[in-house]
Amino acid sequence: MDRKLLLTGAISFLLLGTLAVAVFIFANPEVPRGTTYGEPYPPAKEFTLIRADGSVFSLSDYRGKLVLLFFGYTSCPDFCPTTLAELNRALETLQPGDADEIQIVLITVDPARDTPERIQDYVENFNTDFIGLSGTEEELAPIWNGYGIFRAIPGTASAGGYLVDHTARVTLIDRQGNLRLSFPSDMPVEDIVHDLKLMLRE
């Protein structure tokens, strides 16, 4: 009698546990951890800049790949090197081959100092597949505006030269050229990897 009761109790417990796990899994579908854009997804603003090797970079040439767009500068003491290192770490965490589906692009907010050659050399310190882009202020201003990038030179110079205040947000553009996600500067690498995996599955 006692054994039967114990068995019934154990089976009921197991069934309830399984049900609870199933409810938890199906009630919580995987959602991106970054900031998401709603449908219809806004198209990423098209732009063209000349690369360090003299070739033309057009955003539309990267349709079919995920593009991670970041705005920064080579003399940046904090956010830029940290973000580029974290993006590189995120790519290294992905399955082999998946990283080839992603293009990381850094556009300068400091065209006075960052020549195309200088910014390309800079990004290659993190990953040789990264692309660094620069241009004149007239060429870059519409791109900054088109991606909501705040950029200002406060005027206080340090021993290493002046600093540039700028938005430190990484924008993810999907394979169709639409804005899909953005990552704040303090987003953990594992969350970036999580979102990249979600986007690669699409």
Partner: protein, 166 residues
């Protein structure tokens, strides 16, 4: 066998009393003190057409609050119906599009914001009220008290059955 059944009965009743106590000490304060607490949900904030013009004149857009209260797990969706791009902290919303921000931790923020005349939007993110809150509140004190009562009940003498006396 009889003794075992009595102990089982006493432990069960003790745990039940403990859990009832847990319900009382958890649910009454929740009802009285946390009337604003709720489960996470999606909240949409609409930026109407003409907001940028109003803000540039220093006017407060009438349909947009200056600050909002959320719970952890809420998703704030900003729908930009204006003709210019807007931003809220790390959230940049091009004209005629929407963007969502997941609020994952309890904190108070004052975000840099383009749709407020003061360029600042206050966000207070509180802990949510979920079934885990209820369950934790009931089980914590309930089980502890139940175990205490059960231990006390085990020390009480067992009354002999009438059949046994006869």
């Amino acid at each position: 066998m009889h003794v075992k059944r009595i102990y089982f009965k006493r432990i069960s009743i003790s745990l039940l009393i403990g859990l009832l106590f847990g319900v009382v000490v958890t649910e009454i304060p929740i009802f009285l003190l946390y009337k604003t607490a709720r489960a996470p949900k999606e909240i949409t904030l609409i930026i109407p057409k003409g907001t940028a013009d109003q803000v540039s004149r220093g006017e407060q857009p009438p349909t947009i609050p200056q600050n909002m209260t959320f719970v952890v797990g809420d998703t704030l969706t900003v729908k930009n119906e204006d003709i210019v791009d807007h931003k809220l902290g790390s959230l940049w919303v091009p004209a005629n599009s929407s963007a969502s921000l997941f609020l994952g931790e309890a904190a108070s923020f004052a975000y840099d914001c383009s749709f407020q005349p003061g360029n600042s939007f206050g966000m207070d993110v509180r802990k949510p009220l979920t079934w885990v809150t209820h369950l934790g509140g009931i089980a914590g004190p309930g089980i502890s008290l139940g175990i205490l009562i059960a231990l006390y009940s085990l020390a009480l003498p067992i009354r002999k059955e009438k059949n046994a006396l006869a």
